[in-house]
Structures are given as structure tokens and as C-alpha cells.
């Protein structure tokens, strides 16, 4: 097969199917005049098409269909509505969300988004103060509240009660 044949390979299919533009058609026809291999290939495509179509058309010619319509009608009357399972099946067949070209890229995008936003969500906020541990100790003389922070700092608050002499009215 010549070099030109490779470059015209796809065009030959288009030419055979009548899908070429005017310019493409002229290019193919010019090439065909000088290339027996491509002429043979075109002929072969025609033979394959015939071999594929003939059995189908012969089967169709032998068939009668009125009885088939009666069968369809009986089926529809016996079960006019589709079952729940059939509805679910139909949804799976027609929904665009289960087509590979939709759910595969969608899954990739969602996964990337999760990977991008999850670290910041779980990252500790350094400005947020850790909750202190509070201990409250009562004694006869004083009450003490002790705050212990996670960084080791300790704050002590003494609580003094007012004396009875100071609080009594004059």
C-alpha cells in the first residue's frame, strides 16, 4: 500500500458512506484512478456491506407482523403500568449520571476537592486557646481556683470571703 493510501485511509470510509465534502471527494477520486489497491478495498467494503445486509433484509421479507402487534397489545392491557423494578431499571438506563463520561470525571473532581479541603478542616487553629483544666480547692481559710493550661502555665486565683464585721450594717 502506497504512502498516499495511509493518509486517505479514513477518507475512503467517508467516500464509501457518501460523507465527503466536494474537495475530499475529488481527492479520493483522483487517488482511486491510480491506485488498484484502494479500488480493491472499496470493492471489498461493498461486498462486506452486502454480506451484512442481505440476511437481514431476507429475514424481514419473510416476516409478518400483525400477530406481533396483537401480542404487544395484550401485554400492555394485562400490565398497563410498569412495575417499580422496571421504573428503577429504566432510570438506570436513561439517567445521564450513570454514563461513564459523567461519573468518572465527576468522581475524580469530587475526590480532588475532598483531598484539597480536608487538611485545612482538620488543622488545629493555633489562635484558639486550649481549654484549661480547673481545680477548685476549698479550705477553712481560703478558696482557691487553679487553672492549668496545656502549655504548662498555671494560674492561681485566690478567693477571699468578706469578714462578718465589715459586711454587717451600722
Amino acid at each position: 500500500m502506497r504512502k498516499d493510501c495511509s493518509s486517505l485511509s479514513t477518507l475512503l470510509d467517508k467516500y464509501f458512506d457518501g460523507e465527503t465534502s466536494q474537495r475530499e471527494q475529488e481527492a479520493v477520486e483522483t487517488h482511486l484512478k491510480e491506485c488498484p489497491a484502494c479500488q480493491e478495498r472499496l470493492k471489498f467494503m461493498s461486498e462486506i456491506e452486502g454480506a451484512f445486509r442481505r440476511p437481514v433484509l431476507e429475514a424481514l421479507e419473510k416476516e409478518t407482523f400483525p400477530w406481533l402487534w396483537e401480542k404487544i397489545e395484550r401485554e400492555i392491557r394485562s400490565k398497563p403500568r410498569e412495575t417499580l423494578w422496571e421504573s428503577i431499571k429504566r432510570w438506570f438506563e436513561i439517567t445521564p449520571f450513570l454514563k461513564k463520561r459523567i461519573w468518572i470525571p465527576a468522581t475524580v473532581v469530587v475526590t480532588l476537592l475532598i483531598l484539597l479541603i480536608s487538611p485545612p478542616l482538620f488543622k488545629k487553629n493555633s489562635s484558639h486557646l486550649p481549654l484549661p483544666v480547673v481545680k477548685y480547692i476549698e479550705s477553712k481559710t481560703n478558696n482557691v481556683m487553679i487553672y492549668e493550661l496545656e502549655n504548662g502555665k498555671v494560674t492561681v486565683i485566690w478567693l477571699f470571703e468578706e469578714s462578718e464585721a465589715e459586711s454587717s450594717p451600722s
Binding site: D13, E40, F44, I48, P55, A59, L68, I72, R90
Partner: protein
Amino acid sequence: MKPEESELISRCQQGDQEALKEIFNLYHQKVYRIAYGVVRQREDALDIVQEVFIKLYRSIKNFKGKSSFYTYLYRMTLNQAIDYSRKAKKSLFSRPTWEKESEPVDEEIQRPDSQAAQKQFEERVQKAMETLSEDQRAALILREIEGLSYHEIAEVMECSLGTVMSRIHYGRKRLRELLKEEWKG
């Protein structure tokens, strides 16, 4: 869409079985051709036609008219036929049929000049078709049996024009490779 067809669909969507019958009369042969092209068995093809029209009646309310009606019907038929052949575990879409044959691949096959040779060639082509991918085979069925344009095939198969051309091109290329002993080119 033709106005008469649009009216038929509208009536069918409202549950009018007479409208479905008219649609059946208009399209049953096309549906049968596609079904038979996939399964190559009379009984199976008839089952598929029946299932398609029953399914059509039940689901036609979902047809919004965004695509042409025949596109909608062809797509339903192709899906039903492929689904049917998978369930029945037919060998139409599996590779082994060609490879299991005991006769050698380079057996000299007569060119289809006589009727017997023609039948033999048809069987060889059919078996070679079985080795193609589902998409390649579907594209070739729509092109070579139904005579749809590339644009129409793209609409039915919900893919781009380039993808249709690719499927047809590589499908035919595969057939040439498998049948190369008959045709030197």
C-alpha cells in the same frame, strides 16, 4: 419532527393505544432490522421488537422532543438488543467465536461468485462482526443496515462525529484483517 408524528406521540403519551399502533406500523420494520442485525435470530429479534414497543408505551412520557423520535427509538432498540444478547449469553459480542474455529485462519475462501460461496462469505462476515466491540458493531449496523448518516449515528449513540468515524473505520479495518485471505489490498 413531522406534525403528524408529533401528534401521534402526544396521543401516545396520554395513553392512546391506537396511537401506539400507528407508531408500530410506521417503525416496526426499522426496529426489526436493527434487532436482527444484532442478534441474527428470528425469535430473539421478534422478542426484542415486542419489548421495545411495550417499553416505548410505558416510557414515552419521558420523551421531551429534544432529539428526533426515531433517534430515541433507535437508541432504545440498540440498548434493548445489546442487553438481550448479553442476558442470553449469545456469542455475538464476545471474541471466542472466531478463535474457537478449528479451521485455520488462512484458509482460502472462495470469492462470493456462486450462491453457496455467497452464503459462506455471509457467515464469515457475520462471525468476523462478532469479534468487534459493541460500539463498533452498533455503528456499522446503523450505517450499513439502516443507512443512517454519521451525524444521525452520533445522535443515536450519543457520541461525537469523530467517534462515529473512528468506530466505523476501525471496525472495517478489523474486518479486513480477519478476512484478508479473500481480499488482497
